[in-house]
């Protein structure tokens, strides 16, 4: 009995230690659950003929909405690859968010477009639309171009939603490379459920750096050359394959990558569309949609597809990475603050009791707790007398956990999709895992600290960052 109470007090005294333990346990549990879900999905896929959807007159129709700001260099290729996706009933809506590099004129010229008398109905309020264009070429009938005043990515997506005439829409980053069968795979969850309604599906985002791309298709997958890009391959693999699958199974997924997600348009409009006042609009929308469905009492789910469907260039320079992580951090905080009523709120079930607290403690607070711990240790080391042997054991433990976890994720990828065919690439991935905790991780912690700092000192810097255009969405 005495021992029990002593240990309890001891644990409370050491909240940070408990924090770590809980976090590690979570990671391991999520990884195991993800493994099972992955096996289920891969087995299920063997029985599916996606071409049935492709040739079926009963297939649902989708609007692809791609906001574009100053993408002049690549926009023509990107549009071409979008309109040639394998699907039968879809339209491609390009939203030009007041580009200043002449990309509007380029597109109009390239696809022989003319302004049509489309009456714009802002069901969701947006910045004014100056024109809607269609191609004179009948073969490009599925292409639609919206020209509007600059308002940011969320605003552009909302404009696309206003114009869309289909039941579902796919929000994508215009410079992401979408695989041919992506729409077929992403729409299937919506049509195969018997009891509940699927409100959104998300796909995996893969790293396209240094891959060979021809005509908008990935020809061969290579491991990136830059160290920073390499680490991000690991990050994405861990996060997508070992985290999101589990959340999807639990129906607790809070984030669908803005780089590629398909949504039920009716629900999105009922929720009011994307929120223009945040840089994390993708996560914020999903949370709001969930709240809406919970409030209405209908059974629903947000589903995750682990197949590699979307490829994107990740930052390979420290500066760009820093801006990206700073923005993601602020976006996360935005969402957590807007929806703070969810925190341990039983009324919202899993959303309030598990998903939100997890995000709060282990995604937002993690860098803060880590930094606090390091500072505390430094203080003790200077003032008191820490026991160095113990310290080194702990350090080794933590490092090994990180490396092991990354190695597991490499194995996941090996056994499931096996996209990195070269043996040397796999070994390089493991090598990167050994270096990551020293060379990469401190950087991301620093960027997230700055993100917190920027958030709390005020949003004046936020507007300026937005003007620079949309950088990559948080996967």
């Amino acid at each position: 009995m005495y021992e029990f109470f002593r240990i309890m007090r001891f644990l409370l005294d050491n909240a940070i230690f408990v924090y770590t333990l809980v976090m590690f346990t979570f990671y391991i549990v999520l990884a195991i659950a993800s493994a099972f879900e992955m096996i289920y999905y891969l087995r299920k896929n063997k029985f599916v003929d996606y071409d049935v959807i492709l040739r079926s007159p009963l297939a649902p129709s989708i609007s692809i909405i791609a906001p574009a700001f100053n993408e002049g260099k690549t926009i023509i290729d990107n549009i071409r690859s979008l309109i040639s996706l394998h699907y039968s009933h879809f339209e491609v809506i390009i939203v030009n968010d007041g580009s200043t590099d002449g990309s509007l004129e380029k597109v109009i010229h390239e696809f022989d477009m003319e302004k049509v008398d489309f009456a714009y109905n802002p069901v969701i309020p947006t910045k004014p639309v100056t024109g809607i264009y269609k191609s004179r070429n009948k073969a490009l009938a599925r292409l639609l171009l919206i020209d509007k005043l600059n308002g940011g990515k969320a605003d552009s997506l909302n404009a696309g939603i206003n114009v869309s005439s289909k039941k579902y829409f796919a929000a994508i980053d215009v410079d992401s490379l979408i695989e041919e069968d992506a729409l077929l795979k992403m729409i299937k969850p919506f049509v195969e459920t018997t009891g509940h309604r699927v409100i959104a599906t998300g796909g995996v985002v893969r790293v396209a750096n240094d891959c060979t791309i021809e005509n908008g298709k990935i020809v061969s997958v290579n491991y990136p050359k830059d160290f920073i890009a390499r680490v991000q391959v690991l990050e994405y693999t861990r996060s997508f394959l070992m985290g999101r699958m589990a959340w999807s199974k639990l129906n607790g997924l809070l984030l669908i990558s803005g780089a590629f997600g398909v949504f039920d348009k009716e629900i999105v409009i009922a929720c009011g569309g994307y929120n223009r006042n945040t840089v994390g609009e993708d996560m914020e929308l999903i949370v709001r949609m969930r709240i809406h469905m919970e409030d209405s009492g209908q059974k629903y789910s947000v589903v995750y597809i682990p197949d590699p469907l979307c490829w994107t260039e990740v930052p390979s320079s420290v500066k760009v990475l820093g801006r990206q992580r700073n923005r993601w951090c602020r976006g996360t905080i935005d969402t957590l603050v807007f929806h703070k009523k969810l925190f341990f709120n039983r009324k919202y079930g899993l959303l309030g009791l598990l998903s939100y607290p997890y995000w709060f403690f282990f995604e937002w607070m993690a860098p803060l707790v880590e930094t606090a711990g390091i500072l505390y240790f430094i203080a003790i080391a200077l003032l008191g007398d820490p026991s160095w042997p113990f310290f080194f054991i702990m350090l080794a433990y933590v490092y090994l956990f990180a490396v092991t976890f990354s190695t597991w994720s490499v194995l996941f990828e090996e056994l499931s999709y096996h996209r990195y065919k070269k043996k040397s690439d796999v070994l390089k991935m493991i090598g990167t895992a050994f270096l990551e905790p020293f060379l990469y991780h401190p950087m991301t912690v620093w960027f997230q600290l700055r993100g917190n700092f920027h958030y709390f000192i005020g949003k004046s810097g936020w507007g300026k960052m937005e003007r620079k255009g949309f950088s990559k969405s948080q996967p």
Binding site: R43, E114, K188, G195, S239, I380, H441
Partner: protein, 488 residues
């Protein structure tokens, strides 16, 4: 995003036991009166003295409770009992076993660890520090060390697995390829020989091996799907002559869903009809793959009445299921019933399916029944009925368009308007004009304008007249309706 390295900080657990010297260094004896809720352990920690010392000094006996009010010695300076390396604690106390091992143990550790300390401390504080440390940490430390070994081991094991797997995969593939070619050859020879070759001996022998059996089935199914008519039937006959059917049925009854599903596919292709009842139960299984496979199997097995399975469906007939069934009906060119017979099915999703099929197969004789479905209580059913009427261009519905319109939901209203392809009746034209001018909803106004535009020359004239008098908003709507380039 994950960032699992946030754990360096918990090392502070070990610095949570600061080493400040015990209060009573200057005095030679210190007493403490026990307060009501104090335990021996608490007192010991407070004075940074090991509990066994207090026990010794005060000649305490087990159990060490009910101390309230007692005046205990908690510190004795230069007591030979304090930190003696030899472990002799004097004759005054009666030693018990646990005290003896405690002393030896802690003394030994003290000796070892004192070498690590930077500044000289009193032996008491060191001992109590270590014992306090050990009392609460050891399980944890051992667990951590064990886990670390596990991590290192798992990394090595993983690497080995990955490398071995790559090699095995290549060899395995080669072997499978040989088997495939072998069986494909045998089957083709069988066919070319006009089914005269006697395969029964080979089959009996080789099919005992599971892998061979699987490859053989795979080749047979593959070949069968590429053939038709008499040749295909003879393969099925071969299948039935052998034991393979038994194995298929085993699969269907296996507890793993993915094996069941494989079995069901074999059943369907090889026309095994004995398992119909089982298939009917699988239709309502919660596993989505089994649902679809069972549905499709029943469709294929009852070529004369393929929609037989709908009778047993207790759940929603999903769109994915409908797509697959329709695809199978078309691909195998199966006989389709008059769908209007099933429009009164109590399962709404089945009614929706029938409505869709009526449109796709253009069963014009279903018109009257269709119009009746416009009054169905289910919104989704009515929605589909309107869609079907639109696709089949049934003009009669023009007559009671208004009547249905009033009672409908907004989405269905929009659908009705878009279905009003040829608003022949003049009253309908007036109705549309009214909507354009007065309805509060933008989408309705637009849809009505489009309908008016499609209604022939009279409609166009009316629309032009409206445009002349329209304000900016309405003019934009009318222009949109008239623009043929927008095929929305």
């Amino acid at each position: 995003m994950f960032s699992e390295m946030k754990n360096i900080f918990y090392i502070l657990l070990l610095v949570s036991l600061p080493a400040y010297p015990a209060k009573a260094e200057k005095d030679s004896i210190v007493y403490h009166t026990v307060k009501p809720d104090e335990t021996l352990l608490k007192i010991a920690r407070k004075y940074h003295v090991p509990s066994y010392q207090i026990i010794q000094w005060n000649n305490m006996k087990k159990p060490y409770t009910k101390l309230t009010g007692l005046k205990l010695i908690v510190w004795k300076k230069n007591d030979p009992a304090n930190g003696s390396l030899t472990g002799k604690t004097g004759a005054a106390t009666k030693k018990t076993d646990h005290l003896q091992t405690d002393t030896v143990y802690t003394n030994a550790l003290r000796l070892v660890l004192s070498q690590h300390l930077k500044y000289p401390v009193r032996k008491i504080s060191l001992r109590e520090k270590i014992s306090g440390f050990l009392n609460s940490i050891p399980p944890l430390l051992y667990i951590l060390i064990i886990m670390m070994f596990y991590f290192i081991l798992s990394i090595l094991v993983l690497l080995v697995i990955v490398i071995i797997r790559r090699f095995r995969l290549i060899r395995h593939e080669h072997k499978l390829k040989q088997l495939r070619e072998k069986y494909a050859g045998i089957l083709t020879a069988y066919i070319y020989s006009d089914f005269t070759i006697d395969l029964s001996v080979m089959l009996k022998y080789e099919m005992k091996n599971k892998q061979h059996r699987e490859i053989f089935m795979e080749q047979m199914l593959d070949l069968h799907s590429n053939l038709s008519g008499e040749t295909a039937d003879s393969l099925v006959a071969l299948y039935h002559k052998t034991d393979l059917k038994k194995y298929t049925i085993q699969k269907v009854l296996n507890k793993n869903w993915h094996i069941k599903a494989t079995g069901i596919r074999e059943l369907a292709q090889m026309k095994v009809v004995e398992m119909n009842d089982t298939l009917f139960t699988y239709i309502n299984d919660k596993n989505v793959v089994l649902q679809i496979e069972a549905e499709l199997a029943l469709v294929k097995l009852h070529a004369d009445y393929p929609l037989h399975f709908l009778k047993g469906m207790n759940r929603r007939f999903t769109d994915w299921g409908q797509m697959n069934v329709y695809d199978t009906l078309v691909f195998h060119n199966l006989e389709i019933p008059a769908f209007k017979e099933m429009l009164d099915h109590k399962n709404e999703s089945v009614v929706v399916f029938c409505l869709r099929m009526i449109a796709l197969y253009r069963q014009m004789d279903a018109a009257t029944d269709l119009l009746k479905t416009l009054h169905h209580p289910g919104e989704a059913v009515r929605e589909q009925a309107i869609n079907t009427l639109k696709k089949m261009e049934i003009i009669e519905f023009d007559h009671f368009f208004k009547e249905i319109y009033q009672k409908e939901t907004k989405n269905n209203k929009l659908l009705l308007l878009s279905a009003l392809d040829q608003a022949y009746e003049h009253s309908n034209l007036e109705f549309l004009v009214n909507l354009i001018l007065n309805d509060g909803d933008f989408a309705i106004r637009l849809e009505a304008a489009k309908s008016l535009f499609k209604a022939g020359s009279e409609g166009e004239l009316l629309l032009d007249a409206l445009e002349v008098k329209a304000d900016a908003g309405l003019a934009a709507v009318i222009k949109h309706a008239k623009d043929k380039r927008i095929n929305v």
